[in-house]
């Protein structure tokens, strides 16, 4: 019955090891899939350059990451949450209720959101927020009246754009990117086309009008992509007229397949985003539990390493991959070095 003995001993080993492993020695990170590539670059380099083990970086989205972050303090909770948006009041409160009171906010840089189409497709080279709104907004201005969107071609509302069928692939509502897309493109376009004013004149209050501006048409001309950018890329590959919403880094990695359009006459690049000229960008963050510093080896070192000039600066590997370096990095470095928590003099 050697099999039984083997079984028993393996089980025993597994049980013993489970208790022995309670002391965690590596940093655990989870959160935004937009920050994941940058975090994985830093994690690899951190493991190669220091004596600490390589941190574990999971994805799952900003909200999911922050939710896990706010579960409490202790070795079986994560140390760092990546986020492609700032932490919300509600989340800070949830954190505090679970005992996570001291949170260090670290801004790592900026990410641009670009509009790209197939390399060999129609000449989509310049957009305004109003074009995007006219193409996919639920209600648009047509001949001076607010009507259900029935545009089929880009040329119908802007003669400068190609006479190609409208097919937009936008991030689904679970993505942090969607929020930026709504704020910086749809809402702006809604205001610019006069649809917003028409809604207000029609008796809506301001909040209702803003919500109505963010509605996209449901007739298949605009498709929500719930997966990641690779899925959007596959859709563009299959549709000559397709226009997708991508992160700048993803586009730069796929310039052989995609061509990018300007937004409000500004071409997206790390330069135009860092100066703020290119309108559709957002800051990226990670949040550190102060209570874990000193408990989990390497946590503060990881945070400091992440924002060091050599890594997150304009000539570091993150910028090389497509992150737009933060001009105020020095301030962030200081805050991380002093472990300055949110709300305490920042």
């Amino acid at each position: 019955m050697s099999f039984v003995k083997l079984t028993a001993s393996t089980l025993a080993i597994a049980a013993v090891s489970a208790t022995a492993a309670a002391a965690r020695d590596q940093v655990q990170v989870a959160g935004s899939s937009t920050v994941l590539p940058y975090a994985s670059i830093v994690a690899e380099v951190f493991g190669e350059n220091t004596d600490f083990p390589t941190p574990v970086v999971e994805s799952g989205g900003s909200s999911a990451g922050l939710k896990r972050f706010c579960e409490g303090v202790g070795e079986n909770t994560i140390d760092v949450a990546n986020a492609s948006r700032q932490i919300r009041e509600k989340e800070i409160k949830a954190c505090a209720e679970a005992g996570v009171t001291d949170i260090i906010e670290v801004r790592i840089g900026y990410d641009g959101i670009v509009f790209a189409s197939q390399q060999s497709g129609p000449e989509f080279s310049a957009f305004e927020p109003s074009d995007i709104y006219n193409a996919i907004g639920a209600q648009v201005m047509k001949d001076g009246a607010l009507v259900e969107n029935s545009f089929n071609s880009w040329a119908e509302f802007n003669a400068d754009l190609p006479d190609a069928e409208i097919a937009m692939f936008i991030p689904g509502t679970k993505h942090g990117t969607r929020e930026v897309f709504e704020d910086k493109v749809l809402l702006k376009g809604c205001e610019a086309t006069g649809a917003m004013q028409a809604m207000l004149d029609g008796g809506m209050d301001e909040d209702a009008a803003e919500d109505a501006c963010l509605d996209v048409r449901q007739d298949g001309k605009s498709v929500d992509i719930d997966g990641d950018y690779t899925e959007t890329l596959a859709r563009i590959d299959a549709n000559t007229n397709g226009i997708g919403v991508f992160g700048l880094a993803f586009y730069e990695n796929n310039t052989d397949k995609l061509k990018v359009a300007t937004m409000s006459d500004v071409a997206p690049s790390t330069e135009t985003i860092s100066t703020g000229e290119y309108p559709v960008s957002r800051p990226l963050f990670f949040y550190v539990k102060k209570a874990h510093i000193g408990v989990i080896p390497g946590l503060q070192e990881y945070a400091q390493f992440f924002v060091a000039d050599e890594i997150a600066g304009p000539s570091g590997p993150l910028a090389n991959y497509g992150l737009v370096a933060d001009p105020e990095l020095a301030k962030t470095q200081e805050a991380v070095a002093n472990a300055t928590t949110m709300g305490s003099g920042s």
Partner: protein
């Protein structure tokens, strides 16, 4: 009976038996048609299997080769000390290497123009490999050491047809003029394609370093998970089904259990993931991202499959075997363990392998217990650590790669599928060998 048939002889046939009448022909034709349907069904299956295999192998084969730069490099002690004093040490190593390569190329007198930035664009992330080498072999400092280092993913793509001169747009990753340098270096036999052991034995790497990424660590993670699944679900599953099939009384309670087991087999795997997160990690405080927890979750998923197939194969053992054993005075337990179980063993093994194969390919429950992401970063040190140190699994690693921006990771995802299939095939072969041995012993 014989008399009766003699009294009423069958009606005499009008023609010889050798000549088929209309009815026989119709029946024969129906049979032929049925056989043809069967053949068509099998051929359709084979066709799709071939399409699948060809596309997997075509897309995955490039992952097994990589473009490397073959150069001899000497690191002096001073250079090493200087590099070690910096924060970003691997970058310093990589800069030293670039400078050395540039010097070497200028000495040789290359026909094309190039600068330091061009060399940097051609090379992958070499600093990590260099530093790891000198950490492991400190005696190599000061001596010329031949290195085979990964080229950048764009250069790799140029060799594999992903990047070509027509569609290439100058970017900070690669410029058109760099391709001339690549061609010149190939002539000088500095750049070449080589089989990539790194892909098979390496661990996952950052998104900007596809040349250093491998699936080895994830294979190890999968292996430890399968070990947990096997050790837990096989004995528990077999014991449960023997009890239910041979000893348990037939009543409402056992009926309820039976219905529940059948239902559990159909529960979506993500449900087990949530259960695992709540029970094993949040309640029992087992480590996150550990193959131990992954194995426990997958065991829960595999148990119903094993129980159902084990019960089916126990049922398939003819009752005469049991009766004979009981008849010569064996106890019920002796009858089951000496006679029924060995006969059912091949069926049990088949069910176990199906269950394990299912578990091997599962990603959804792993998402929730932290095994998907940038996790598989190295081999566990030792057998025990294999269960508890954070690791990923093959399907999770493939999923992660497929989502990355750089196209060469997509190719690696296909390569990972080949490795996954090879792992599965090995498991099946082991099962077949074991099954044969069990059959002979009885």
């Amino acid at each position: 009976m014989t008399d009766a048939s003699m009294d009423n002889p069958p009606p005499a046939r009008a023609r010889s038996l050798r000549q088929a009448d209309a009815n026989t022909r119709r029946r024969n034709a129906a049979e032929k048609r049925f056989r043809a349907y069967g053949m068509v069904a099998i051929l359709t299956g084979l066709f799709f299997l071939t399409v699948l295999f060809v596309s997997i192998i075509r897309s995955g084969a490039p992952a097994f080769t990589r473009t490397v730069v073959n150069v001899e490099f000497t690191l002096t002690q001073d250079q090493m000390d200087a590099a070690e004093s910096e924060l970003f040490k691997t970058k310093a190593y990589s800069n030293l290497f670039i400078a050395a390569l540039q010097g070497k190329l200028e000495e040789r007198g290359m026909s094309v123009e190039f600068d330091e930035a061009a060399i940097e664009r051609l090379l992958g992330k070499v600093g990590g490999t260099l530093r790891a080498h000198y950490k492991e072999f400190p005696d190599d400092v000061g001596k010329p050491v031949p290195f085979e280092l990964a080229a950048s993913s764009r250069v790799d793509g140029y060799y594999k047809g992903r990047v070509n001169r027509e569609t290439l747009q100058d970017s900070r990753f690669l410029q058109l003029s760099d391709l001339d340098l690549v061609d010149a270096l190939e002539e000088a036999q500095i750049i070449k394609q080589a089989f990539s052991w790194t892909f098979i034995t390496g661990a996952d790497s950052g998104v900007d370093n596809p040349g250093g990424a491998g699936i080895g660590a994830a294979v190890v993670g999968s292996f430890f998970m399968m070990l947990v699944v096997l050790v837990l679900s096989l004995p528990i599953g077999v014991a449960a089904s023997i009890y239910l099939e041979e000893f348990a009384p037939q009543n409402r309670f056992t009926d309820l259990i039976e219905v529940n087991i059948s239902n559990l087999a159909a529960v979506p795997s993500i449900v087990f993931g949530i259960l695992g997160l709540a029970v094993f990690i949040q309640f029992m405080h087992l480590p996150q991202s550990a193959p131990l927890v992954g194995g426990l979750v997958l065991s829960l998923m595999t148990l119903p499959t094993i129980i159902i197939s084990t019960r089916a194969s126990l049922k398939a053992v003819p009752p005469s075997i049991r009766d004979a054993a009981l008849g010569v005075g064996a106890s019920k337990m002796q009858a089951v363990f000496h006679h029924v179980l060995p006969l059912a063993a091949p069926g049990i093994l088949t069910g176990t392998i199906i269950g394990l194969a299912q578990a091997l390919g599962e990603t959804a429950p792993l998402l929730l217990i932290g095994m998907v992401g940038f996790v598989a970063r190295g081999y566990p040190d030792g057998f025990v650590a294999g269960f508890t140190e954070p690791n990923s699994a093959m399907p999770a690693q493939i999923y992660t790669w497929a989502a990355r921006a750089d196209a060469s990771f997509y190719e690696k995802a296909w390569g990972g599928i080949i490795i996954l299939l090879a792992f599965l095939l090995t498991m099946n072969i082991i099962a077949i060998i074991l099954r044969r041995r069990f059959e002979r012993r009885w």
